[in-house]
């Protein structure tokens, strides 16, 4: 039967399809596309977010961004955080996926347990971990006599990114684990058994069979972790809120301020809406480029069975 003919004639089907599209397309344009375009316009003005008056100033905001130490530092910190975070989250998640798809007893309990941190919002998580980093770990360090543990990780500019990676891995690895678990379960057990009979050890089976066949899951997981690390805001705000002050380009800057927090502070704390908006546009362009590169690299590595 022709695709277009069923469901009581062509015209009614067209109307149904149109009505099915209306809510999402409407929301999409009103919530994302129109503000996005307005935002690009704002980035060329000197609007402060409070006064109605605004003048078009051309590229002045964009020029100001690239000489601002705070923004450049936030940018580099975000890149560093993203790099560590993507690696940490995916390695931990992959290992956990291997664990919970093995024959371990109570694997469903472990699966649920690893996923639970994901159900709590970043603000609550950040507060819990702030207490752990600032009170519990130093107390442990003192009790055990370990010097490196007795000062708080989040008040030291060198270790604060590590603290954020720890918290984010704890929160996000369970979610990524679920993607890997679904992918591992989709691989036929016979392939693995055949390799096992041929004498391949467990690690060889994982490396030569599992990982190549899971390339699709790696593409999705890397995309999600990459974009989420880049956009990290809530944990950053609740855990360190910019964190200790450090020197960068001979100016004091916030050591753990990531891009999203920097943009937010520029716009609301310092009332420079237009400047914040210009930063956001740069942020968007970087994110698009980075994720396009990642997806195309990963896609080229995917294999078909």
């Amino acid at each position: 039967m022709d695709n277009q003919k069923f469901f009581s004639g062509r015209r009614e089907r067209k109307i149904t399809e149109f009505l099915f599209l209306v809510p999402t397309v409407l929301a999409f344009f009103l919530v994302i596309i129109i503000p996005f375009i307005i935002g690009i316009y704002y980035s060329f003005t000197d609007w402060d977010g409070v006064n109605a008056a605004r003048n078009v100033v051309g590229l002045a905001n964009y020029k100001a961004i690239f000489t601002e130490p705070g923004f450049l530092h936030a940018f580099l910190t975000t890149v560093l955080f993203t790099l560590f975070n993507v690696i940490a989250v995916n390695v931990v998640a992959f290992l956990m996926a291997l664990l919970v798809t093995s024959q371990v007893k109570g694997r469903n309990l472990y699966r649920a347990g690893f996923f639970v941190p994901n159900l709590i919002g970043g603000i609550v998580l950040g507060s819990i971990w702030q207490f752990i980093f600032s009170s519990i770990l130093p107390a442990m360090g003192k009790a055990l006599g370990w010097g490196w543990l007795s000062t708080s990780m989040i008040t030291n500019a060198r270790t604060v990114v590590g603290a954020m990676v720890t918290v984010n891995t704890w929160q996000y690895a369970g979610y990524i684990m679920m993607i890997y678990v679904a992918s591992i379960q989709g691989i036929s057990q016979q392939v693995m058994e055949a390799a096992s009979v041929d004498g391949a050890t467990y690690w060889i089976r994982v490396r030569k069979i599992l990982i190549p066949l899971m390339a699709n899951a790696f593409t999705i997981s890397l995309f999600l972790t990459l974009t989420n690390s880049f956009k990290m805001y809530d944990v950053n705000l609740a855990l360190t809120n910019g964190g200790p002050v450090t020197m960068f380009m001979k100016t004091p800057v916030q050591a753990s301020e990531l891009l999203a927090l920097n943009i937010y502070n520029t716009a609301f704390k310092y009332s420079k809406m237009a400047l914040g908006q210009a930063k956001a546009v740069i942020f968007f362009i970087v994110l698009v480029v980075v994720s396009l590169v990642q997806v195309s690299i990963n896609k080229s590595k995917e294999v078909e069975m």
Binding site: P23, L30, I128
Partner: protein, 220 residues
């Protein structure tokens, strides 16, 4: 030759056993590590301020403090916990319902109606996943204010406006997931439903709860 093969299987069995014990230990350790923060929160919720300041880690002196703390939070007029909880529940239920129903409908159309328009629309939804919230955050507030004034619908500081905004932000990901689901539903099922006199397209059959909860964060 035969003997040799058996040997390998025997060795593999022993290795498998070692691996499974390692896996077991790894799971237990990770599980403890993952649950520790929750455990600490639970313990500290039953302790007094003085206890926590004195020592960060420790058992509560008196579990009766737990009830006292909970009651104190519940009744505190500055937190207004009950109202916040109620708002969160309402917003979560409404936005989950709206997002999953609307996205499922759209995903069905985008899969079944193969034209260049639907492909372009799908690509647009997927591309929007990359747009960071910070880019649209400031303009959204002024734009929603103006639009709300124009339409005489309060879009800011209202549940409806927030749910609508959540639909905009959440639908891209949800449509993407549903798109995969609907593609796996055979077309024959829909044709059969039509012949049997089913009036509404059976895409609803594909409606599953979207993985991951919508987190209630106030847009203000």
């Amino acid at each position: 030759m035969h003997q040799n093969a058996l040997d390998i299987v025997g060795q593999d069995k022993a290795r498998q056993k070692r691996l499974s014990i390692l896996a077991e230990i790894g799971c237990i350790l990770l599980f403890i590590l993952f649950m520790m923060p929750f455990f600490i929160v639970l313990l500290n919720s039953a302790r007094t301020n003085a206890e926590i300041i004195n020592s960060a880690v420790g058992m509560p002196e008196n579990w009766a403090n737990f009830k006292e703390n909970v009651v104190a939070v519940w009744n505190n007029p500055t937190f207004n916990f009950l109202k916040a909880l109620k708002d969160s529940v309402i917003i979560t239920i409404l936005s989950l319902a709206v997002i999953s129903v609307c996205s499922a409908m759209t995903a069905w159309v985008l899969v079944r109606n193969k034209t260049k328009w639907s492909t372009a629309l799908f690509m647009m939804f997927v591309a929007a996943m990359v747009i960071p919230f910070q880019v649209v955050m400031f303009p959204l507030i002024t734009w929603f204010k103006n639009l709300g004034d124009f339409l005489h619908i309060p879009l800011l500081r209202s549940h409806g406006g927030l749910v609508f905004a959540y639909l905009g932000f959440g639908e891209s990901m949800t449509i993407f997931i549903f798109h995969g689901f609907v593609k796996n539903i055979p077309l024959e099922i829909e044709e059969a439903a039509d012949i049997d006199g089913c009036s509404l397209p059976a895409a609803a059959a594909g409606v599953r709860h979207r993985a991951g909860a919508q987190r209630p964060v106030d847009l203000e």
